[in-house]
């Protein structure tokens, strides 16, 4: 472990190219990240950002191109070489070991660990190290018990503890509240300004890029499409560099909610155990009217998932009522059918599909046992399923090799389109959606949001849970904040402020 009066290093790539067979993932990309700068790397999914970063970190051997550190050419044969040069990476998913404490995670990740660990000595050294760190963290708690923001901070601290002075941050704020994101990025910004650290951050969020970074580099389809100082670029220019001339689906304009709109979903005094079984989630009162989108904001792990599982029938409830159009709803197939309840869960491949069944079969889950008149049939007709799926695939622009491919072979965006096609076809009175755009690229996101808005304008009541606050602000008519298993705040969209919502998400009220 190096001392933390460390010196930031500058990193440069020259003509970096990476080919996988005939596919060119990265084509002659040269970027320059000077020592002590905070650099943003922008691009859609599949633009080559992670390929570039993996080449720098030694996970891939680039087909062509050089890496310069502090102006000197270096050979990086593997991740170990990269770490020896002081290059470190904080991944989007956490790489901390959940059942180990923070201290154990730090010590074991070190290059040289003594056979027998003298915890008294280590603790003293860690305490001394933490004093120099800009953030305080409990190190004696199991990582599994830390909040997402704390885990993210610990990831960064781990890299610093290992003596890294150039960090790649891969979408570091995707799991944080706006407040936590501000704090973490602000601290990172401070360290780069002090010259202790150089940071290359992969991000999708323009407002973060504008607020914290110095320069940007934009990739599209493996090519460098733009670079420049953040202070000289507008969001519009950045977006143009990112998506080029692709048309982006526009949101349907928002039809006003009619005053006499019927109440579709009513939840009263709902109680259910959470995942740990130690706490309960407690939804006092929630109603969603026809033709409106009600958003539920919250940091993951505050009971949204459990609430959704109760509505979906995946979790038993201890008490309370769920009414759809006035009749009790227990999420049986028959009820969902008569009351027109549709459901788009998060991670659709896992929660809404049978991954190895075909695209056509998956798309027919709601209707395969009904005939055109909606009456049960006794023999399944594959022909009808195929026709139905063909129609939907065209309508929702699902890209699939064939109707008979397993749905797991589709890309994330196309799985989500297939699920949307299934759930949004036919009469929809209530639509329950959770994190619909997680991990999807720009154009898929725009299209999926447009579809949800369209369903709303057609009169569906929509309950939208999302960890992406921007998404909620864009789509919702009303926003609730869920914290610690309860709905703690409600605001109509007209009066919504990111700051107030963020404070409630963090449970400061």
């Amino acid at each position: 472990m190096r001392e933390s009066g460390m010196k930031a290093v500058g990193v440069e790539t020259i003509g970096m190219s990476m080919r996988f067979g005939a596919f060119t993932a990265l084509d002659d990309v040269s970027i320059k990240v000077p020592a002590g700068s905070f650099h943003a790397l922008l691009g859609e999914n599949g633009a080559g950002k992670s390929t570039l970063v993996k080449c720098i970190m030694g996970f891939y051997h680039p087909t062509a191109g050089d890496i310069l550190i502090d102006g000197r050419e270096v050979g990086i044969a593997g991740p170990k070489d990269a770490s020896a040069l002081g290059l470190g990476m904080v991944y989007q998913h956490f790489t901390l070991v959940p059942s180990l404490t923070g201290a154990e995670n730090l010590v074991i990740s070190r290059e040289k660990v003594p056979g027998i660990i003298d915890w008294r000595k280590e603790r003293a050294a860690l305490a001394q190290f933490m004093e120099r760190m800009p953030f305080k963290l409990p190190l004696d708690v199991k990582v599994a018990e830390l909040a997402a923001g704390e885990k993210q901070k610990l990831e960064i601290i781990k890299q610093l503890y290992l003596g890294r002075s150039f960090l790649v941050l891969d979408e570091p704020t995707s799991v944080l509240t706006p407040g936590e994101a501000q704090e973490v990025l602000g601290l990172v910004r401070g360290m780069t300004k002090a010259g202790d650290l150089t940071v290359l951050m992969i991000s999708h969020k323009f407002h973060e890029v504008t607020a914290f970074t110095d320069d940007i580099t934009v990739l599209r389809k493996g090519r460098l499409t733009g670079t420049g100082k953040v202070s000289e670029l507008s969001h519009k220019q950045m977006a143009a560099m990112m998506i080029g001339d692709q048309p982006i689906a526009a949101l349907d304009s928002r039809a006003p909610v009619p005053a006499e709109a019927k109440q579709v979903l009513t939840v009263k005094a709902l109680k259910a155990p959470d995942r740990t079984g130690l706490k309960t989630i407690n939804i006092g009162e929630l109603d969603v009217k026809s033709g409106e989108i009600v958003g539920v904001a919250g940091i993951s792990g505050n009971g949204q998932k459990e609430f959704l599982e109760v509505l979906a029938g995946q979790r038993t409830r201890d008490a309370g009522d769920v009414l759809v159009k006035g009749s009790p709803y227990c999420a049986s197939r028959a009820e969902a059918r008569t009351l027109n309840v549709r459901f788009i869960p998060e991670e659709p491949l896992r929660n809404a599909c049978a991954p190895r069944m075909t695209v056509a079969e998956n798309m027919a889950f709601r209707t395969f046992d009904l005939n055109e008149a909606g009456k049960p049939i006794s023999w399944i007709r594959m022909g009808a399923i195929r026709d139905y799926a063909t129609r939907l695939i065209e309508q929702f622009k699902v890209k699939t090799a064939s109707l008979a491919s397993p749905i797991s072979s589709l890309s994330g965006g196309n799985v989500q389109r297939a699920v949307l096609a299934r759930e949004l076809t036919g009469e929809v009175d209530l639509l329950i959606v959770s994190n619909p755009c997680f991990g999807l690229d720009f154009s898929a996101v725009a299209e999926i949001r447009a579809r949800i808005m369209k369903a709303r304008n057609a009169g569906a009541a929509v309950l939208l849970m999302s960890e992406d606050l921007d998404e909620l602000l864009e789509l919702s008519d009303r926003i609730f904040v869920m914290s610690d298993g309860a709905l703690v705040y409600e605001t109509p969209i007209a009066q919504a402020s990111v700051q107030t919502i963020g404070e409630h998400m963090a449970g400061h009220h």
Partner: protein
């Protein structure tokens, strides 16, 4: 003095003695399995390893006249079984549970095949230390006649409990068991760590087998194991992967197993067979009492295929 004279005191005393005597193989197998499962793999083949270890230990002890050499041979045989399991499981698409069941049957079958000539001859026993010399009561003396392997097992449990948190090897084992991705990010090869962990687990199971044939019951027969190898796997889960918990669970299980014979010895003539089932009923009851339908097992290694 016979059993009736100390009356019903004979029952708890016999259970204590039984707990110490019967629990030793459970201790070794469950500690071995705890190491293996902490690395993120499950080895159901330990039953086969146990039986093969029992046969090997007995055969070597008969041939060399030294129970210690027998013990060593059993550990080596167990190590081979464990390494074999670990090696097969590193391949993609191989299911550790299926391989475990295959190895369980293979180990038992192989032990019966090689063990036929050793059913008759008698082998020297592993030594026991009489801790009951202070008492005149023979039951007390019998109960406190403690085999060295039990003491080694107890020390091993404490050592493992300490080592899981205070040594590099212990932390690496837990990292690999909890998250293969994190382990790879640290430059560790999860397969190598699991191979070693499965090997050590097998060696300990082999030692458990040696105890069976060289001390209690103390002879090699084909029916030597009554499923200790499998029960020990359940004990590990019941003990929540904690070595001290494994030790306690093994004692509890051993004590419950001694209930039937103890009742018989104090003159209960009817229905004591029912109490032979006590350990299994006890396990079921505890498992049901400590489980929950809505919560996953606390402390389970994240990479374990049964809890994933």
């Amino acid at each position: 003095m016979d059993a009736t004279e100390i009356g019903l005191w004979g029952v708890p005393l016999a259970m204590l003695g039984g707990a110490i005597r019967v629990s030793t193989p459970f201790i070794f197998v469950s500690l071995g399995e705890a190491i293996t499962e902490r690395s993120g793999r499950i080895n159901l083949g330990l039953e086969g390893t146990l039986v093969f270890g029992a046969m090997t230990a007995y055969a070597v002890a008969v041939m060399t006249g030294s129970p210690w050499l027998g013990l060593l041979a059993a550990a080596a045989a167990g190590l081979c079984f464990g390494l074999f399991h670990g090696w097969i499981c590193k391949f993609r698409g191989v299911n550790d549970i299926a391989i475990g069941i295959a190895l369980m049957l293979f180990g038992s079958g192989l032990a019966f095949f090689f063990g036929k000539p050793f059913i008759q001859p008698s082998a020297p026993d592993l030594p026991a230390i009489p801790f009951g010399g202070w008492s005149d009561v023979p039951q007390v003396q019998a109960a406190l006649n403690v085999n060295v392997l039990f003491l080694i097992g107890a020390a091993l449990a404490v050592f493992l409990w300490w080592a899981f948190r205070n040594t590099r090897a212990g932390l690496i084992l837990r990292v690999v068991g909890d998250s293969s991705d994190a382990a790879r990010a640290m430059g560790l090869n999860p397969n190598t760590v699991r191979l070693i962990a499965t090997g050590i687990g097998g060696a300990l199971a082999g030692i458990g087998g040696a105890y069976l044939s060289l001390y209690y019951p103390g002879s090699w027969t084909e029916g030597i194991s009554s499923g200790q190898g499998l029960m020990a796997v359940a004990l590990v889960i019941f003990a929540r992967w904690n070595p001290l918990g494994c030790f306690a669970a093994a004692l509890l299980f051993g004590g419950a197993g001694a209930l039937g014979p103890a009742l018989q010895s104090v003159g209960v003539t009817q229905g004591y067979y029912l109490f032979y089932a006590a350990p299994y009923i006890l396990t079921l009851v505890i498992m049901i009492a400590t489980s929950s339908s809505s919560r996953s097992l606390a402390g389970a290694p994240g990479e374990l295929s049964i809890t994933k």
